[in-house]
Amino acid sequence: MVSRIGIFLQITSLALFGGDYYFTYSLTSDNLVVSYEKLQISRKMTQTSSKPVAFFDIQNSKKATTEKEFVETHKNEIVELILQNNTTIKSTSKIHLGDISERSIVRSLPTLVNVDFKEDFGIIGIYEQTP
């Protein structure tokens, strides 16, 4: 009986408060031009006990109808929010005979994000990263 209630509550909370997604992002730029970019989005398959620490809202400007579509169409905005929250940067430059070459790698560790999709906007909740 308890487990049934638990399952019901879990399904209801997923429906009410949206789904959790892992975002992993990496970008490499050579001489101020992007040369490589990789974004991995993965839906979290287990229950989350903690709560998001930072909330943002994104307008549904691209008229997405479902949560999955919203995530897909607004992934760049979500990545920007994640980068503002936590970013690792590694940059190297080499000067040889007056010729400069520079490479910067921006990376975000797998970050858990809650996407609560409404009709006109979505609320993005970012969880605290665990080291």
Binding site: E37, T88, H96, V106
Partner: protein, 152 residues
Amino acid sequence: MKKTVLLTIAVASSLFANTPAAQSENVKENVVVEEKNVVLNNNNVITLSVIGQGVSPEHTISNYQALALAKKAAIADAYRMLAEKLNGVKVEGYDIVKNMVIQRSQVKTCVSSMIRHANIVETKCAKDFCEVEMELKVVGNKWYPELVSSYK
């Protein structure tokens, strides 16, 4: 009598004020006042502000993609500049000299840092070029001890 005593005190104080020691104290005070808003210490909050630049790649599908990529490159550049300001740059240089003539000269720089809670203040985009202004607030009582210990 009182007038003469006061006059001598005033003259003596004015002479003392013009001595080099007193002047250097005044200069020091001025320097401290000038640096008050720039230097991080235990009690203040400073805001680091940088402008990153990015250029769109040559081969793109559309204008929108070109601008989006230029903006991302500008964001990466801004993060690099913030990291440089916050943690410093590791510089490594070497020259190879043969028969008193430089054969090879190379300078390498490296920056590596983690940045949290940096805000994008403004984004300016032209045809194939983007500028991103980014700000980072550094709270002294939290970060000053850590930054000082990292340099020791």
